[in-house]
Symmetry: C2
Subunit: 115 residues, 2 copies
DNA sequence: AGTTTTGATTACCTCAAGGTAACTGATTAC
DNA sequence: GTAATCAGTTACCTTGAGGTAATCAAAACT
């Protein structure tokens, strides 16, 4: 069944290692390239650059170049990006519940095997 | 922020190319290995085998071996798996909306560049 | 004996996401 | 002139998900 296409679309938009972290960083108020980069440990400029492009294409953020002294770019979240909050909340919710189901009581202790 | 850990968990469980297709196939009533395999074009036995194991670990399905003639295994969806329906619906919903936003009117025509 | 069907496992290959690191170009400050 | 800061780009490498194909074991049928 390809009623799954829209699901795939969504997963493409928020999937991958960095997209959500970057989006949240921008939601939190980080506007400039280096600012966002510094707010996320281990994130490289190459990956950030690519992800920001993707996110702009998907209309999750806007990019504005401020001409001036040491050249600044400003990234801002769109209203459209805010509609993701509900989706993310559902994913979060299910995840919390799933952890309880799988690990029981000690959900916090087990499985910190992710970067 | 690692409040994203549960989100990652959820994405791990439903992410990847095949997991949702397999889950839906089982939801639809397919019970046996070959039956599931045949219901999903291009899915190889190796991948199916691996995904079914993952899904069993994540308590989305149960596996029962029926001893008999040409050995049969029975896969069945759990109640826990049903709690994913809401999540999938949200992903679907957002995806549909996103398509409209990005492609406008001709959402159906554009971007069938996925297998 | 040989083929078919079930449910897999194993070895090998491919490809894209992501990681590493060096470099560009513009401008201001030292 | 040299360094620093901003916003990237480019070339190269690594890793893991997934694809391909052969093989295994057990029983039933022919």
């Amino acid at each position: 069944m390809s009623a799954l296409l829209p699901v795939r679309d969504t997963l493409d938009v928020i999937g991958g290692k960095w997209k959500l972290l970057i989006l949240i960083s921008i939601w939190e108020g980080n506007k400039h390239f280096r600012e966002i980069e510094r707010s996320i440990p281990k994130l490289s400029t190459k990956v950030l650059s690519k992800e920001l492009k993707d996110m702009e294409e998907n209309q999750l953020i806007t990019r504005t170049i401020l001409n001036g002294f040491p050249v600044r770019t400003e990234y801002r979240p769109t209203e459209h990006s805010k509609t993701l909050e509900k989706v993310i909340f559902e994913l979060y919710n299910w995840g919390v519940n799933h952890r309880k189901k799988i690990f029981g009581a000690n959900s916090e202790i087990v499985s910190s095997n992710r970067t």
